[in-house]
């Protein structure tokens, strides 16, 4: 008999007032009994609407059936057929707009907690297996992967399983892409990412950090070195700014810089080597996952007040629902329908050498109202004349998106990009306009999601295998 409770089993979490001051993981995960109870809510629908909502079509009812049978490893194997990063995706996927949005149980109540069950299964697997993959027999072919984010790691893993000798080139000193420098520890513990990377190494994948493709080596040189195909998963690129006065003041960061300082450069630890503004009053501009992560990081670094300034309303806020709820619970204040027009700086009229000169002392904003929906159905914000107000803040974090990094394109002849700078690929294979070069993830789509980047890595791995088996 299915469990007909209209509500999902709640996710055990650290209490908001405690977690707002530490960097430990917020959501603690289901135990076996809760997972079984939640699994029993799945009706095992014949037409499986949830599967169509999943960007990589995980066989969701099948893995949940395995949970019902207490075959947790079996459940993991079902997920693993379609996804290589279940412990990551179970934590960071926007399930409410994907699989869970399609769940029949969601019509009259809450959908099945598919993401929570995925996470349970992945954590169970990691805790109960030594995780060491079999080293596949080599097939003699060499493939290079550029970037070690979810798309690159997935492509490398799938190819290694087929016997390819794979080298991943990463510009930074640590592998993992956004998973290590962007998404904070309290949402995605770095140990999970490290385990995925270590698994790849155990399968024979070589990871070369400190290599910037386009600078240290070019794509053409990779071919000269004997690689027969190249996958580019170089990520979303350069952070955008608003081009309003005051953006170069001291105390203004891009979200990438702020989060990189905290995560990758470990400013969040007690004895940091990397400076970051701590405490004070912080405004984060933007409404995506990146903005939520920056706001919640600011709280944990000791800020006394944190605002999210977003130009549309709560309904349009693009961040994962759970992150928004967590942010509200932790005390982040949402200034919706507002947009900055100027960041105000301190200037001592009597002392040009005052070290405080050029520090942020506030942010002037204007109220917005929503106009008619545009062709994509999004209602665009229109400034309300005369509605300016000033937020009393000393740190501003800009989290308004990214534009592609031209580095690889400008050094690779024959690699075409679209108007927005994204690499052009054939969707079903990831093949670019240059022979033997494939691409996927944010470098192609612009900032998107971990699961779509992972999916693109899988598609490209399959296509590279077909290309090189010919």
């Amino acid at each position: 008999m299915p469990n007909m409770s209209p509500k999902k089993n709640a996710m055990p979490s650290q209490a908001p007032e405690v977690r707002a001051h530490n960097f430990d993981e917020v959501a603690l995960g289901y135990d076996e009994a809760t997972a079984l109870d939640e699994a029993a809510r799945c009706l095992n629908c014949k037409n499986m609407p949830c599967v169509t909502g999943c960007p990589v079509n995980i066989h969701i009812p099948e893995f949940i059936s395995k949970i019902k049978e207490c075959d947790f490893e079996g459940a993991y194997q079902v997920i693993n057929r379609s996804s290589s990063l279940p412990a990551v995706c179970g934590r960071v996927c926007p399930q409410e707009t994907q699989c869970e949005a399609k769940c029949v149980r969601g019509i009259k109540g809450e959908p099945v907690g598919i993401g929570r069950l995925e996470r349970f299964v992945a954590d169970w697997h990691n805790a109960h297996t030594d995780g060491v993959a079999d080293i596949p027999e080599t097939n003699g072919h060499k493939v290079a992967v550029v970037g070690s984010g979810p798309s690159g790691l997935t492509c490398a893993g799938d190819l290694a399983k087929k016997g390819y000798s794979v080298t991943v080139y990463e510009a930074l000193h640590t592998a993992g892409g956004v998973l290590v420098y962007g998404i904070p520890e309290f949402r995605l513990p770095k140990a999970i990412v490290k385990k995925e990377v270590d698994n790849l190494k155990a399968m024979g994948v070589t990871i070369e950090t400190n290599v910037v493709i386009g600078k240290t080596l070019t794509v053409d040189e990779l071919f000269e070195m004997g690689f027969e195909a190249v996958f580019i998963g170089s990520g979303a690129g350069l952070p955008s700014f608003m081009n309003i006065p005051g953006e170069s003041l001291k105390g203004v960061y891009s979200a990438n810089e702020y989060l990189t300082r905290s995560n990758l450069m470990k400013a969040y630890l007690d004895n940091p080597v990397t400076p970051i503004s701590k405490g004070g009053r912080v405004a984060v501009v933007g409404g995506g996952n990146v903005a939520m992560d920056a706001a919640r990081t600011a709280l944990r670094l000791g800020a006394e007040k944190v605002y999210i300034v977003y130009r549309r309303s709560m309904e349009e806020l693009p961040a994962r629902r759970e992150e928004v709820e967590h942010a509200i619970e932790e005390g982040v204040e949402f200034m919706l329908l507002g947009s900055p027009v100027e960041i105000l700086g301190y200037r001592n009229p009597d002392d040009k050498r005052d070290p405080k000169n050029g520090t942020v002392i506030g942010m002037k904003c204007i109220k917005m109202e929503l106009g008619e929906p545009d062709e994509r159905g999004r209602r665009s914000p229109i400034p309300v004349e005369g509605s300016e107000f000033t937020l009393d803040v000393d740190t501003v974090v800009m989290s308004i998106g990214t534009s592609p990094n031209p580095l690889i394109k400008s050094t690779t002849e024959g690699l075409e990009t679209n108007k927005r700078g994204g690499i052009i690929v054939e969707e079903s294979t990831g093949a670019t306009t240059k022979m033997g070069v494939y691409a996927g993830g944010d470098a192609v789509t612009g900032a998107a999601t971990v699961i779509s980047a992972m999916g693109a890595g899988k598609v490209a791995a399959k296509a590279i295998d077909e290309y090189l088996s010919k």
Binding site: A171, L172, H173, Y181, T209, N210, V211, V212, K215, T216, L217, G235, G237, L238, P239, F241, N243, E247, S248, L249, K250, G251, Y253, S254, N256, E257, T260, R261, M265, K266, V273, T274, P275, P355, N357, G358, N405, P406, L407
Partner: protein, 279 residues
């Protein structure tokens, strides 16, 4: 890990190191930079490439001991290794076809100016170099500049060596005497570059400056290195480090440069204390 193959102290606060990094050495060009981390959990700092030996696979860096990280780097000896070394980053200084150039270096900036002077000299370009230091004990690379220049002016602020005054003095004299160059290339403290730009502006000679703002990744990901150039936001690590001096907003660059000064001073003291304790 990247091994140190050569170390030389140029003056009490400036050190030169050659570091084994064959991939970087193969590609490096004057004007480009590297980013390094001394040890695990260390800070990432950018340093301009001061030379390279493609055959030996080594890259030369020259740095001033100003903070915790450069202090730690200075404690490394030949045979020791550093954790991370990535590059060459940024765009190379454009030197093609130049016939007559004036190079103006200040302080440790001279270390970055030297490979440019050398490259130009080798191309057969007429090189005039002006190098300036606060005082005699901070002087570096005089012989090297002398070898790479057709004309060399050495200046000290306090007059403790060579001629007294700042680098603009001989520059202004040359301009007043009607001397002209195809380009003025200046590298040094921000204030100095600002003054060199202002001295050059009336002549209309293109004036290239090399900016060294705060950086983290060096690949265009963080935006920490941004500058206002010609009213637009530019990232020094991808668009630079060389920029048209007439377009750079030096005042905001100088302000941003002091963003973490208190933190750095504190971290430097801590590191020094740590070293004192351990010896």
């Amino acid at each position: 890990m990247y091994r140190i193959t050569y170390k030389k102290s140029l003056n009490p606060t400036v050190t030169m190191l050659d570091i084994e990094a064959p991939l970087v050495a193969r590609k490096a060009k004057p004007g480009q930079f590297i980013i390094l981390r001394v040890d695990e959990d260390g800070e990432r700092i950018p340093l301009t490439i001061a030379g390279y030996d493609r055959e030996a696979g080594t890259v030369r860096i020259i740095f001033q001991i100003v903070g915790a990280t450069t202090e730690k780097l200075n404690r490394k000896e030949v045979g020791d290794s550093i954790q991370d070394f990535v590059g060459p980053l940024g765009t190379a200084t454009e030197l093609d076809g130049l016939k007559k150039v004036c190079i103006v270096g200040g302080g440790v900036g001279c270390a970055i100016a030297l490979p440019i002077a050398e490259a130009l000299h080798e191309m057969g370009c007429e090189v005039t170099s002006v190098i300036g230091f606060r005082s005699k004990d901070l002087l570096i690379l005089e012989d090297e500049f002398s070898a790479a220049s057709d004309r060399l002016f050495v200046m000290t602020d306090d007059g403790s060596y060579a001629r007294q005054g700042n680098v603009c003095v001989p520059l202004n004299e040359m301009f007043a005497a009607g001397e002209r160059f195809e380009k003025v290339i200046t590298i040094g403290p921000l204030v100095m570059m600002k003054f060199v730009v202002e001295a050059t502006r009336p002549t209309g000679i293109p004036c290239i400056v090399s900016m060294n703002p705060i950086m983290i990744d060096g690949t265009g990901m963080c935006g920490g290195c941004r500058l206002t150039v010609g009213g637009k936001t530019k990232f020094a690590c991808v668009d630079g480090p060389d920029f048209d001096g007439y377009e750079v907003d030096f005042d905001s660059a100088m302000e941003r440069g002091t963003m973490f000064r208190d933190f750095e001073r504190h971290a430097h003291e801590e590191t020094c204390n740590l070293f004192k304790k351990s010896v």
